[in-house]
Amino acid sequence: MAADPTRVRSLDDPTVIVDTPATIYDAVPPYPPQTEREAEFYTLRDGEMLINLGPQHPSTHGVLRVVLKIDGERVVDLDPVLGYLHRGVEKICENCDWHMAISNCDPLEYIASMFSEALPVLAAEKLLELKVPRRAEYIRVLAWELNRISSHALFMGWLALDLGGLTPILYGFIERDEIVEMLASLTGQRLLFNYLRIGGVNGDLNHDFLSRLGDWMSRAAHRIEDSQTLINENEIFVKRVRGLGTIDRATALRMCLTGPPLRATGIPYDVRRAHPYSVYPELEFGIPTRTEGDSYARYLLHLDEIRQSIHIIDQVLHQMPDGPVMAKLPRLLRIPPGRAFAALESPRGQYAVYAMSDGSDQPFRFRIHDPSYFNLQTVGLLMPGNLIADTMAIMASLDPIMGGVDK
C-alpha cells in the first residue's frame, strides 16, 4: 500500500496516525492557550506569521527559544520560551550543604563564574556575621574585577559578531584568554573557578599569577583603547546600533533592569556603591552612566567599566595587605538561623541571593536572583517594530547568559 502523505505517524507515539504531523519546529504549542496573554499572542491577524528562533540558534548565547510574530520583515511581538537549561539549582542548593552550594552556583554565570560562586559565600558570611581577613577580601576584589574585564571584552566581541563583524570577537577572546589563563594559575580552573570559600579564598596569590598580571597590566589600558578604535569609529557598526533598542529611565525601572542596561539610561545603581560589600568602600572608582539608553550607549558603558576595573585593580595591587586568606571556621559549618539578602554587582547587573537558614548545615531556602533573567524579559518590549536582523543585536546588547537565566 502506497504511503498516504497526509497520514503520518506521530512523533510522540509512532503507533498513532495523525493527520497533520507535529514537528519540533512548530511554533504553535500543541495545547490550548493558558493565559490571556498567550491567547493574544497566538492569534494571528492578517499578514502576520510565526517563526521559531532557537533553541539552538548560535546567536542566542545559549539555549533560548524565541517565537517571533512577524509581519513581513518587522517583528510584531515575541514570546521567549525558557527552561531548556533548567536544572533546579535552587532545589539542589537546598539539599546540599553550604560548601557544596559554592560549586553548584558556579555554572550559573559561566562567563564570569567568580560572581555566581560568591552568592552562597556572601549569604553565609552575612548570616554568620563573619569578619573575613582583609587580604582575602582584596584577593576577591582582584579576581572579581579581572573576571569583569574578561566578560566585558567578550560582550563587545559578541555584539559585533551578532551584527556580522567577525574580527572584534577575536580581539575579545585575546583579552579573555589572557585573563582566563591568569585566573587558571591562581585557581586551577579556566572556566568554573570554585575559588571563593566561606571565610576567605582557596589559596594565596602565587608568583605565576602575579607575573602574568603584571605583564598584562602593563599593556591592558593600551590594548583596550586599541581594540575600541576597531569598532567605535566604524560607521557601519555605529549606524546599526545607535538608537537601537532604546529604553528610557522610567521604563528601565519598571522593567526591573539592573547593571549596564540600567546605567545606560542614567540611573547610577551599582551594588558596589549602593550597598557596599567586601572592601569596595575603601577603593576609589566611578560609576559610569549614559543617558541615551540605546545599544550604543550600553556598548560604550561596557568600555567605561573596563577602564574603571583596571583602575580598581591598580589600587588593589598597591594596597594589598599581608595576612591570612582564610578565617578560622569549623569543618562542619552550621549557619545560625535567620534570613539574609546579599547582592553583588556582576558584569550583567545585580546578582542577589535571599538565603534562609534553619540552623542546620544546609540552606533552608536559597533564592537566586539572576540579572540576566530580569534583563532578558525586556526584549519583549524592545523588539516590536524592529527588523528580524536587529533582534540579535538587541539581545546581545542586553548580554544574557542562559546558564543564569534558566538556573
Binding site: 526591573c256 539592573t258 547582592a343
Partner: protein, 143 residues
C-alpha cells in the same frame, strides 16, 4: 506597595527581587525594594498564605518586570498572582503538575543504589522547625 512606590518621601522605585518561600507550614512572597534615599533594601513579606491556595495581588502594574519573577514563583511554588496577565509555567513544561520548590516535594529515592534505604545523604531535605506533621512523618519514615 503602591504607597511605597509612589510616595515622594519613600520612592522605592527599584524592585530588587521577588521570590516565593515555602516554610513548610505556610507560603510567603518576599519583595526586596530599593530607594535612592534608603540605606538598605526594604524587605516586604506577604506572610501566612495558605499552602493549599496561596494568592497575592500582582505587582505588575507597578513593575512590569516582576512578571517573570511572579511566573517563576508560580512555577516553583504554585502561588497565584492575581492580576498577572501571563501567569503560566516558565521553566517546567506546560503540562507539569507539581511545584518543585515546595518542601513536600522531596527528591526521589535513589532506589537502584540503596533499595528501601531512603534518600542518600545529599538528597535529604532538612525539615523546617515548624514543619507540618505530614512532612515530619515522611522524614521519619525515610530515616
Amino acid at each position: 506597595m503602591r504607597t511605597l512606590h509612589d510616595d515622594p518621601d519613600l520612592r522605592f522605585t527599584l524592585l530588587a527581587d521577588i521570590c516565593g518561600v515555602d516554610t513548610g507550614r505556610k507560603m510567603q512572597v518576599v519583595y526586596h525594594l530599593w530607594s535612592a534615599t534608603s540605606p538598605d533594601w526594604l524587605r516586604v513579606i506577604a506572610d501566612d498564605l495558605p499552602r493549599d491556595d496561596p494568592r497575592v495581588p500582582s505587582v505588575t502594574f507597578l513593575w512590569k518586570g516582576a512578571e517573570w519573577g511572579e511566573r517563576e514563583a508560580y512555577d516553583m511554588f504554585g502561588i497565584i498572582f492575581e492580576g498577572n496577565r501571563d501567569l503560566r509555567r516558565i521553566y517546567m513544561p506546560p503540562d507539569y503538575k507539581s511545584f518543585p520548590l515546595r518542601k513536600d516535594f522531596l527528591l526521589p529515592d535513589d532506589a537502584a543504589r540503596s533499595p528501601g534505604m531512603g534518600v542518600r545523604h545529599m538528597e535529604q531535605t532538612a525539615p523546617p522547625a515548624d514543619a507540618p506533621d505530614e512532612v515530619l512523618l515522611r522524614r521519619s519514615q525515610l530515616d
